[in-house]
């Protein structure tokens, strides 16, 4: 279990995170949902260990890891731009971590991951030859080889289009389930957050507005911001799509 207690962070006297308290159960998929400047990326960096909080504590399985360095926390991340190494091919990227920790995954486990993510026929390709979705899957495989205790995903779907987006969503869910892997996703897209996660945290101005299961958020929004910005957006989308399919323009709000 990951637990954050009273996390505070300011940059140049601007308060970015305000009394942040929450916990994530093992194997859960949690989305941190907010617009740019909401503090979601800072929160992600604090969990990962790139950024130190000004005050507050972080616990993992009851150990205090607040002062533990990024590489010793054992978490891992896939960045929004994937950060694949272009001088190496897809396979070399996937097994990069084995150069430093040869025994962290067995060859069998690596093969299993490659199968799971459907990368078999792309292993010898250069990074620039891969499509967006393939890049995302290579980056996922590379991170999963390291057997992270928590998987962090920074805007994992923002650079992908339509159908690929849905298939990557399924992969993320599948991985979390099969490996019982705690997964924390940062996103600005309500649809993504609510359709992908077990729980969603809505953050604005450095404060958590609501942290609950998707249907709770839909049915009982805790805050006018949640209603006006998050739910309103989804309703417009839904109405547009319904209009396309049935011409039924007067669907009442749920």
């Amino acid at each position: 279990m990951l637990e954050l207690k009273n996390i505070e962070k300011s940059f140049d006297n601007v308060n970015v995170l305000n009394h942040v308290n929450f916990s994530v159960e093992d194997g859960e998929i949690v989305s941190i949902l907010g617009s740019s400047g909401s503090g979601k990326t800072t929160l992600l960096n604090i969990i990962l260990g790139i950024t130190q909080p000004d005050s507050g504590e972080i616990f993992f399985d009851t150990h205090d890891i607040t002062k533990v360095s990024m590489e010793n926390r054992g978490f891992n991340i896939v960045f929004q731009d994937y950060a694949l190494f272009p001088n190496l091919n897809a396979y070399e990227n996937i097994v990069y971590g084995l150069r430093n920790k040869p025994n962290i995954s067995t060859p069998g486990e690596v093969q299993e991951l490659i199968e799971l993510l459907g990368l078999k026929e792309h292993l010898n390709k250069n990074i620039e030859q891969l499509s967006g979705g393939q890049k995302q899957r290579v980056a996922l495989a590379r991170t999963l080889v390291m057997k992270p205790k928590i998987l962090l995903l920074d805007e994992p779907l923002s650079a992908l289009d339509g159908v690929i987006k849905e298939s990557i969503k399924d992969k993320i869910k599948q991985i979390a389930k099969e490996y019982h892997l705690t997964t924390i996703i940062v996103t600005h897209d309500p649809e993504e957050a609510l359709s992908l996660s077990d729980k969603v945290m809505i953050i604005n101005g450095g404060t958590i507005l609501q942290y609950a299961k998707p249907d709770e958020i839909i049915n009982s929004p805790s805050d006018s911001f949640v209603t006006e910005f998050i739910l309103r957006q989804l309703e417009i989308k839904r109405n547009n799509i319904l209009a396309l399919f049935g011409g039924n323009k007067t669907v009442a709000a749920v």
């Binding site: 891992n76 960045f79 950060a83 190494f85 001088n87 920790k101 250069n126 590379r142 390291m146």
Partner: protein, 545 residues
Amino acid sequence: MNKSRISPQKIILIFTGLLFGFFLLLPMVTILCKSFYKDGNATLEFYGNLFSNRSIFKAFGNSVLVSAASGIITTVLAFIPAYAVNFTNINKKLKKVISTLVILPMLLPTITYGFAIIYSFGKQGLITKLLDTQIVDIYGIAGLIIGYVIYTLPISFMLINNTMGYIDKKFTIVSRMMGDSKLKSFFATVITPLISTLAVSFIQSFTLSFTDYGIPAALAGNVDLLATRLYNEMLGSLPDFNTGSAVSIIMLLPSVASIILISVLNKYNIRYNKISVIELTKNRVRDIAFGMLSAVIILCVLSVFAVIFLVPFVEQWPYRMNFSIEHITDIFSDSSLISVYKNSLLVALATAGLGTLIVYGTALVSARRGEHRHYGKLPDTASLITNTIPGMVLGVAYLLSFKGTFLHNTFAILVICNIVHYFSSPYLMMKSSLEKLNASWETTARLMGDSWIKTVVRIITPNAVSTLLEVFSYFFVNAMVTVSAVIFLASTKTMIITAKIKELQHFANFNEIFVLSILILITNLAVKGLVRLFAAIRNRKGKKV
């Protein structure tokens, strides 16, 4: 974070601090003190003496005059081939030829231009003979301006060409659609976005001319210039180091002002968000006119250099004009000249190798600093300062600071001087290229167990090879052609080609001067060719599945 030992980034910073502390700050402070102190007491005597004599004003005025004239002429001339390359439908291969030939003079030392001009436009010069009349009196203002224009044309062309490449050509179409006349459209969409670059080009070629010693060494004649004045104060028949230092400071001031002005002007550069690829309008008159004008400019420049390849192969210019390779064989059997060439090669290779390493290290800490936000300040400042200090001033400062130390008369001091002198451009080149690489690589690799050094070796370096090669060849070529600084530092033991050329001038040994110049040119071409070949091979490998 639990770091008990000192990080490699800090080690690089400490090394950079020491390097520029000892070889930039200390020499500059020394030269400043030398001009203000006499026997340990502060004095304005040296400046007083200088200014009480009208000759320093005359020298300063002459320097400003010829440099400004060269700056204007160069900028106008450089605009033409740049326009031909960017705004006409001339054949692509032809454009490539134009942009290659225009920058060719960069591969030769300026001191060679001077002698090439003498052998072209002088009384017995090739062009004078061909035209049967001497067009200009080259010993003086006219000769100097010709030399400076040839010297600064490549740099000015590169500046203008670069900005033109970033001008969105679609705006020309929009302007014509809105009813602008051709002339108005030209000013609105070509000249206006170029204004600050044209100004930078003028200032840059002004500064380069103002501080160059190679061309006046051959052509100044009776024209008193600041550069020749400085040389004579330091290495003339009556050396006066204090007055020399004062002259250095006077030379430094306009140079500092120029660099500040350039950095201000660069802020006004228009940046288009997106460069659209668009077909240029058909206009054969424009294409032919600019093609021809570019050809004429290039031919003029090349014709000046033709004598370099001609004179050494003639028995005795201009009296016995039959072909002979006697001079060549003589020169190559002269072991002292061969050793001078070897020295130059050694200094250039060491400068390029070490220079690239230092530039890479410093650019790594400043461009990829991650959480160390302040790390970039030291190399950035060093780059800014080195950029403002003319080679001659740096040479004089080294001479004063390291005379009598173990560095005096060594190859090491030549190499260090070159690296410090030429640090700025390759550093900025390297930094901007590293900044473009994915910012998350280090974090990602660290999460997979890499140390910083490992990531640099395994990931960053393979992705920075092409820029590293560019930096290497920049240092190499400049170390081969530099005159201004090393002229004060090369000794009989550490003689390199450009300093030797200056020495050979006393004996009027022009055959040897030209052969040595050809050697420099061939060596530079070879290095550039090798670098290009290597990059091409790597590129092809990268493209392979």
